[in-house]
């Protein structure tokens, strides 16, 4: 990031914060609310379906992974109010468009 320097760290804490920011990539914005439950703050269409919150300390870190795995499960059966196509009524042939979400998600309309 070649940004004009308008702000410069003075003390060690500021330096540490700047170093932290340097390693951050911002192609995707954070979706956690900062509480210990890490509830999603917003939803993308696919990788955060908004209900799977996983408060556990271990895998998965964040919500993308589990939601992508749960996505087609939810789509077919409409178990949860996930942001996914409804395979029972409106998208009965979902499998023709998307049979693996990580691969085919771009084809969802």
């Amino acid at each position: 990031m070649n940004r004009k320097i308008c702000i410069k760290a003075l003390n060690e804490k500021a330096r540490a914060i700047e170093a932290l920011a340097k390693n951050e990539t911002r192609s995707v914005e954070a979706l956690e609310d900062g509480t210990k439950w890490k509830m999603p703050v917003g939803c993308t269409t696919i990788f955060d379906t908004g209900w799977e919150t996983n408060p556990r300390a271990s895998s998965p870190v964040g919500n993308c992974q589990p939601s992508s795995h749960d996505y087609l499960g939810c789509a077919g059966d409409c178990w949860w109010p996930a942001q996914s196509p409804d395979g029972l009524t409106n998208t009965p042939e979902l499998e023709l468009i998307c049979s693996s979400i990580a691969r085919d998600w771009r084809d969802l309309k």
């Binding site: 799977e52 996983n54 556990r56 271990s58 895998s59 998965p60 992974q65 589990p66 992508s68 795995h69 749960d70 996505y71 087609l72 499960g73 077919g76 059966d77 395979g87 029972l88 009965p92 042939e93 979902l94 499998e95 023709l96 998307c98 049979s99 693996s100 979400i101 990580a102 691969r103």
Partner: protein, 335 residues
């Protein structure tokens, strides 16, 4: 030159015999995919067949003669798959007579011709929605015709059949025992689950693959446990666990001293003490399907489009199998 040909031919013959011999006791793991069922050979952990199907696969039940597998798809289709030819040979659609039906649970009856299925049904009548009562029915596997049926409470998602006892266990909010020996099917017992503060979701569980016992986690406001329905004895049992666990499914180890459960972690549970003795993070993420090999040495766990093969002795992943479809659950058949 001629000799050479004979040599090649005899080698080919030998290979063919070897394949036939091997197929005599073939053990396969079937993945319930989207538009496709994929078959893994337990002896090699390779994908040995891709079987295109219509719809998204949900449940599977092996035919009495072992040569066929019935797979439900999109909650209304029942595909009959020839396990030798690895193709769909017949499909029945439960959407007929104006009704749309949604199947959750299938068990093949010992006559080999019929099956028990549980379904919800809806139709529109003069522009109005009509929703039928939740039903467990015995159907003709050739035609899908409903032979007899019984109304069940809302929420049943699993059927476990005990052929020797002529009883069907329908699990939902509670577990309902349905007597099948008489002319009419009827609920003869209700095993209370919900009113005791327990919650169950036996969606990703198998009975045949688990030594004839359906095993699944239950949850309470405090700690979870394991519940089981023994299709040989009809016994329903509960084992409270001593620590937290978040799991979709569970299976026994071969010696039935341990159980494995899965969601985002793989848990090893000591069945004598109810303690979780080991927890391994499943690196592929949330996993639904879990099934052990018959000898108990391997454990197959599916997360998204990946099946991880675990060595049960070390709990290390010994093979990572990439599928071409995401999956719902895993079943195991022996030919």
């Amino acid at each position: 030159m001629e000799k050479r040909i004979y040599f090649v031919l005899s080698i080919m013959m030998f290979c063919l015999t070897a394949i036939i011999e091997q197929s005599d006791a073939k053990e396969l793991v079937i993945t319930m995919g989207y538009g496709k069922v994929q078959v893994l050979d337990v002896s090699t952990d390779e994908i040995v067949a891709d079987i295109p199907i219509k719809g998204w696969a949900r449940e599977a039940a092996q035919a009495v003669d072992k040569n066929f597998l019935y797979v439900t798809a999109s909650r209304h289709l029942i595909h009959k798959i020839d396990l030798q030819k690895m193709t769909v040979v017949e499909t029945i659609d439960m959407n007929y007579g104006g009704w749309q039906r949604f199947i959750y649970g299938i068990s093949i009856v010992e006559d080999g011709k019929t099956a028990y299925v549980n379904f919800l049904a809806r139709k529109t009548d003069a522009g109005e929605v009509v929703v039928d009562v939740p039903t467990v029915a015995q159907i003709d596997l050739a035609t899908g015709k409903i032979l007899r049926s019984v109304e069940v409470p809302f929420g049943v998602i699993n059927l476990t059949y005990a052929p020797k006892l002529h009883k069907l266990y329908a699990s939902g909010q509670d577990i309902y025992t349905i007597e099948t020996s008489g002319k009419e099917m009827k609920i003869v017992d209700t095993y209370s689950v919900f009113d005791r503060g327990l919650n169950i979701l036996p969606l990703f569980c198998t009975t045949e693959e688990n030594g004839g016992i359906l095993l699944f986690p239950y949850y309470t406001a405090k700690l979870p446990g394991l519940m089981s329905i023994n299709a040989n004895t009809g016994e329903i049992k509960e084992l409270p666990l001593k620590s937290e666990m978040m799991a979709y499914g569970a299976v026994y180890s071969t010696d039935k001293k341990k159980a494995y459960a899965n969601m985002d972690e793989l848990y090893v549970i000591d069945l004598e003490t109810g303690t979780i003795t080991n927890t391994e993070v499943i690196h592929e993420g949330t996993a639904f399907g879990i099934v052990p090999s018959t000898d108990g040495k391997k454990l197959y766990i599916q997360s998204g489009p990946i099946v991880d093969v675990y060595d049960t002795a070390t709990l290390r992943v010994i093979k990572r199998i990439q599928l071409s479809t995401d999956g719902w659950m895993l079943n195991r058949v022996t030919l």
